[in-house]
């Protein structure tokens, strides 16, 4: 039985790759070919769809918009969550448990519930259709997550390290920046990965809060696809491109992922 153990993950990965391959396959076909001929690989291999995307600013600004607010949100979430996670890990204070639970409940709030109120709220404070709006709104679910993951990592560091630094004469902030952050850098990496991931894949809020100026690529894609009568080739090419940032991020943090979970909340 042990001999065939590798089959399970292999089949699973094949299953995961199939739809992605299909998307890539389509992206190299013209829409006409997609509709008229069914084939496992492009008969007339074309870059036309990609060229369209890279030459049309409504397309590529979508990418830039997405990356812009995702990075903004990731930095914001982690920066805010770090001291909070430290506090939850190291100190007891009035209402700490309730606050922690309340934070987590926000991870449980269905975005669909908040879509309309968010639109009204951000419109009323003149942030509608800005990158800041999306970055801020994604804090709703990313900050609880970031606090949660980081708290696990921080608790794995003995508090004697903090004490040693104070004994050595470090002030709190100097210790926090020069020693503590480098110590939990793996945890920060994992947290950033998750924040990036959830901000990158989320669409409902991002779409609700933007119109033109900050419109994310994923939204651009659906719009074009539905209005111009399903330009399937273009849709596939745009979709394929949205996979790339994620793939790059995974590649860089691959060693941290498993480790992160093992060290963190487990």
């Amino acid at each position: 039985m042990k001999k065939f153990k590798w089959l399970v993950p292999t089949i699973y990965i094949l299953f995961l790759m199939l739809p992605i391959y299909w998307l890539l396959n389509m992206s190299f076909k013209t829409t006409t070919e997609i509709i008229n001929t069914y084939s496992l690989w492009p008969q007339k291999f074309t870059f036309e769809n990609y060229i369209t995307i890279f030459t049309d600013s409504t397309w590529y600004t979508g990418y830039l918009n997405s990356i812009y607010y995702v990075v903004m949100n990731t930095v914001l979430s982690v920066a805010a969550a770090l001291p909070a996670a430290y506090a939850f890990s190291r100190y007891k204070f009035l209402g700490d448990k309730h606050l922690f639970f309340w934070l987590l409940t926000n991870r449980m709030a269905p975005p669909a519930v908040f879509a309309l109120p968010f639109f009204q709220f951000y419109s009323s404070i003149n942030l509608f259709d800005t990158h800041v709006a999306v970055a801020l709104s994604h804090c709703l679910f990313n900050i609880p997550l970031a606090v949660w993951i980081l708290e696990g990592f921080i608790s794995a560091v003995p508090k004697e390290l903090d004490e040693t630094a104070y004994v050595d004469g470090y002030s709190f902030w100097r210790f926090f920046i020069k020693i503590f952050i480098p110590t939990i850098v793996a945890g920060i990496g994992v947290t950033m990965f998750f924040c990036f991931m959830f901000s990158w894949v989320e669409l409902l809020l991002a779409k609700t809060l933007t119109a033109v100026a900050a419109k994310p690529i994923a939204a651009t894609m659906t719009r074009t696809a539905s209005t111009s009568g399903y330009e399937l080739g273009l849709l596939a090419a745009a979709g394929s491109l949205t996979i790339i940032p994620g793939a790059i991020v995974i590649y860089f943090v691959r060693n941290y992922i498993a480790k992160g979970f093992a060290l963190g909340r487990v």
Partner: protein, 355 residues
Amino acid sequence: MSLELKNVEKKVGQDTHIHRTDLSFQKNSINILLGSTLAGKTTLMQIMAGLDKPTNGEIWFDNKNVTGMTVQKRNVSMVYQQFINYPNFTVLDNIASPLKITGMNSDEIKKKVGEVSELLKLSGMLNKKPHELSGGQQQRTALARALVKDSGLILLDEPLANLDFKLREELREELPRLFENRECIVVYATTEPSDALLIGGNTATLMQGKIIQYGKTIDVYNKPSNLISAKVFSDPPINVSEIKKTGDTFSLLNDSVKWKSSNVKIKDGKYKVGIRPHNITTYREGSNSVEIKGKVLISELSGSESLIHFRNFNSNWVSLSNGTHQMNVGQEAKLYMNVDEFMYFDQSNKLVNHV
């Protein structure tokens, strides 16, 4: 220079972690806090360092009240049981870090780090990261960081507990030497009586958040003020038994063992006697030895010593003899107690002889 705890008490919620304590450590002394886990050693050290505040009482250092002062301002050093180093710094930067904080110029830092790393045999590994070192070297790095600045108070919280037996021995031997020629007070917490004896200095015995006794280590060992202190400061555990004195006659355990002695000047009556295992031996030792018989439970031979556990009148005894003395389990053993070394405690557990 001195460190004084005046009426210090620590409570957390309803629990008292440290009962009212008065303690005073003098300049250039090594002071050992001896007690089992959770006896309050760490809490006491945290209060001394300024990492924790006492609920009541004051801490005076150098005749100044430092009770509320933050640890950064106190000029103390601390080494923990776990090997605590800054993982992202090299050994060199680890050792240099307390000096860099003070803004010392780099030449002087270099000189000081060089000296202290030489002292702790770390010179060859200054450019390594802590995780590349063995446990012993990691703890040496932590010690070096504690020694590099001229702190007036050096706190060592079971620094050898996580090391291999031989490394422990090696470092323990070096420790007193490290503090020679230094103006400082050293406080060393340990659970092991042998640590206290080998390091010397002064010892405070602790039990459940109370200081039982404080004095010169050898005095505390030889003249424990009460039974608890004797128990804390004994490894293997001290034998305790009921004893009756009438005139010059002492009798142990329902008259099973009797002897006469005129050396012990205590009133007639009932006492508890504390007998350290090495005062029960397979051979006669001292001028007054009394025979005791028992059934052997276990015999442990370590090459240089023999530990024999035996049973006499429903209680278990431990004897420790020099040399190898093989005894079989179940056999009737004849052993000798050196009665001159007995410690007598009254009904309130206070030492009554030797005083």
